[in-house]
Amino acid sequence: MNLNVTKLTYHNQSNSYEVALEYGLLRADRVNASLVHLDVEGLTIQESSLISIACPETSSVFGSIKISNSTFSLLNMSADSSILSISEPSLSEQETCAISISIIQNNFSNISSLDLGPLFQMSASKLIGMGNQPNVMTVNRNNFQNITSNKGAIYSGKHLTNNATVSFELNNFSNIHVREQGRIFYIEGGGMNVSDSDSYPRTEIIRNIWS
């Protein structure tokens, strides 16, 4: 299915900032979508994503999604909420999901979240690019400003397998505040044991090499 959306304004029409958005803009498991000139403002998003895409159960190809020349501002996210989420609910160990995500020339500003990844949540790891390309996600020429979250203010997700890559180019990130780890990118999983003491032995070796 091909979907083209141009110039969609999605503002909170009520006087209350607490009106929750439950259904989002797009749910899809196989689509080629182009979303241009979206204007999303003043919404509270609870336990859902504005755009939610899932790898299909019956095909190894999701398709593509492109979001460009759009504005997302004054958004209040609860836990498990994001602007764009990518999931793979039913892939087996050997299966992959071909996808191409492009986030081009958008403005993201004044967005806060009580959880992780209010912008892009990648809860899929078996993605591959379309046409055997390694890149699954391209994020170019965007502005990210005044964003607050607990972890991973811009991108949170799992390690990608199959040599898949995510590319960020020519973006501007400013005034990003995260309460815990990983201001911009947070890759989740098990924990690394971190001692309260520092790495003096190794640090000394490095110092000697550089001196």
Binding site: V178, G182, I184, F185, Y186, I187, G191, R202, I209
Partner: protein, 152 residues
């Protein structure tokens, strides 16, 4: 990550990129020609906090990046990183080095030393990971020493 501009960012650890879990060294981070300015973390890794990722970085400007405890640029357990290349290919005009004198810090590790001797010898342990080995009576060349750096 190429040609991005990061400014006025604060965090607990991992100001730009945080990935604590290991991935058998298969994760690769490539950063080139980015600008990082005024990045502050309360603990470790002002820019990168990684486990065993490979990191290649060139042409980046790190200006006023601060980690209060360690790693004003990188904090890692076992990153695959050419530190000499990292140091020479990037720019550090005024990175703060509070808590560490180098932009890269690694998590604690230790050196496991094994001395193979035909004759018995004694090892006396002092504080601060200091040891005294005695009764190595013959020439040192007859005692192969194997060293292995390990992380806890």
């Amino acid at each position: 990550m190429n040609l991005n501009y990061f400014s006025n960012i604060s965090a607990y650890s991992g100001g730009i990129y945080y990935s604590a879990p290991g991935n058998q060294g298969s994760s690769k981070l490539a950063f080139s020609q980015n600008n990082f300015s005024n990045v502050y973390v309360q603990e470790r890794g002002a820019i990168f906090y990684v486990n065993d990722s490979g990191i290649s970085a060139s042409g980046n400007h790190f200006d006023n990046t601060t980690a209060k405890i360690a790693g004003p640029i990188v904090y890692s357990q076992n990153a695959n990183l050419d530190i000499s290349a990292f140091n020479s290919l990037n720019y550090f005009p005024s990175s703060d080095t509070v808590g560490s004198t180098q932009p890269v810090s690694f998590s604690p590790n230790f050196l496991d030393i094994e001395i193979i001797s035909k004759n018995p010898f004694t090892i006396q342990e002092f504080s601060n990971s200091t040891f005294l080995v005695t009764n190595l009576t013959s020439t040192l060349s007859s005692h192969p020493i194997q060293g292995c750096s390990q992380v806890p």
